[in-house]
Symmetry: C2
Subunit: 225 residues, 2 copies
Amino acid sequence: MRSAEAGDTSARARILDAAVLRFARSGFRASVRTIAADADVSPALVIHHFGSKDKLHAACDEQVLAWIAESKRRNMGPATSGRLLEVLAQTDELAPLVGYVLRSLQAGGPVGKAFVEHMIDDAEKYTAEAVEQGMARPSRDERARVRYLVYSSLGSLLLSVTMNPPKDPEDVNAAVRAFMDDLYLPMLELFTEGFLTTRRMLDDYLLYVSDPPREDDDLTTSGIR
Amino acid sequence: MRSAEAGDTSARARILDAAVLRFARSGFRASVRTIAADADVSPALVIHHFGSKDKLHAACDEQVLAWIAESKRRNMGPATSGRLLEVLAQTDELAPLVGYVLRSLQAGGPVGKAFVEHMIDDAEKYTAEAVEQGMARPSRDERARVRYLVYSSLGSLLLSVTMNPPKDPEDVNAAVRAFMDDLYLPMLELFTEGFLTTRRMLDDYLLYVSDPPREDDDLTTSGIR
DNA sequence: GCCCCGGCTGAACGCCTGTTTAGGGTATTG
DNA sequence: CAATACCCTAAACAGGCGTTCAGCCGGGGC
């Protein structure tokens, strides 16, 4: 994992690499001094090259997004749709990116947002193909379904590693895989067989949205202020 | 929302209430000085009563868990299983708790952990009943399924509010409801009709776990170090 | 009257943060 | 050889943090 072109040993590149790694390991509250120490450099130099910590963060985001785009272009196909994180986790060079992406999802940063949107766009494409080929059921609202699928898979992963963080931040990737292993069966079961035996709740809801009750009835008891 | 008994206007109670509210609004990095100002009290008094910021945080956690337990005892039934957050959001007095719980989920704190475990326990009970009554399909691993359902619903909610935080932290509850509205149809669709049309992936997986390939083949290419 | 006592505060301490400043060291250029 | 330009650092600054400490202030007991 190297900045711009491989083998760039300039101090600037060393700082950027160290920052991405440190942010992934320790979160975005890691101090400039720590990053400087990681890169064997003075704190002042970090500021000198990037202007401020926020700008360093932004540069890291940009770099990570570029790496992800590159990885997608090279490694992704229909077979790995929705498993971008796993692909990243399996590429040694890019393994730290998983931690970085998770931190960004947790912090709501631009990388997190972009990552979610990428996944939604990809998933929309691939599920459309799956529906065409008769592998997946059509939905009443394809976009909403895709958003739901992406949010629940990424969200559950995020929640899982937040609740059970690996002792060594080095092990996020192992934690990601453990999580996937644990929850793969119920997910597959749900996707294949569903959960409810009766259509009643769905039909009731469809009826409800096509003929909703008067809104103000609701609002007075909704708890919104 | 008052500590211990309603109408307790002692400084200690005022501080605790202010802290819960401030933590919910601004996250757990809110400063002792801010909380003290909210409670119209000196920062020193906060420490005097609670010993340290960490202990204040712990006291808030305890208080919130007590409120939640109380609310569950009074308001929850089979009909609202899995919708604890919505019930909280609709009880004006307890509305700030939603924000607090979300912050705890995000930070991985004890309240978050406990909340997840409560939801899993409740959901396990209610899905068992649903299966008995023929409303839900049985699972090959009930506990794993329940965990999956709780993690994906709470996780997707957490991710959603992290990615699209309300401008005014006062509006988390509205955001929660908006999220539920958006994703209710795809969820219901998935639960009722499933996603895949073919059993092949599930059957392949079941075959795979009953006769797994040699492990070391995998490990060498798994990217774990 | 006095005293003591507990709730409470203003001011300070020590630490850590991001950032600035002034200047040292080295290599390139005239 | 001297001068300039650039990379880099040590030291300090300003501000925020959690926390401590000495002491104020009002009420109850003697």
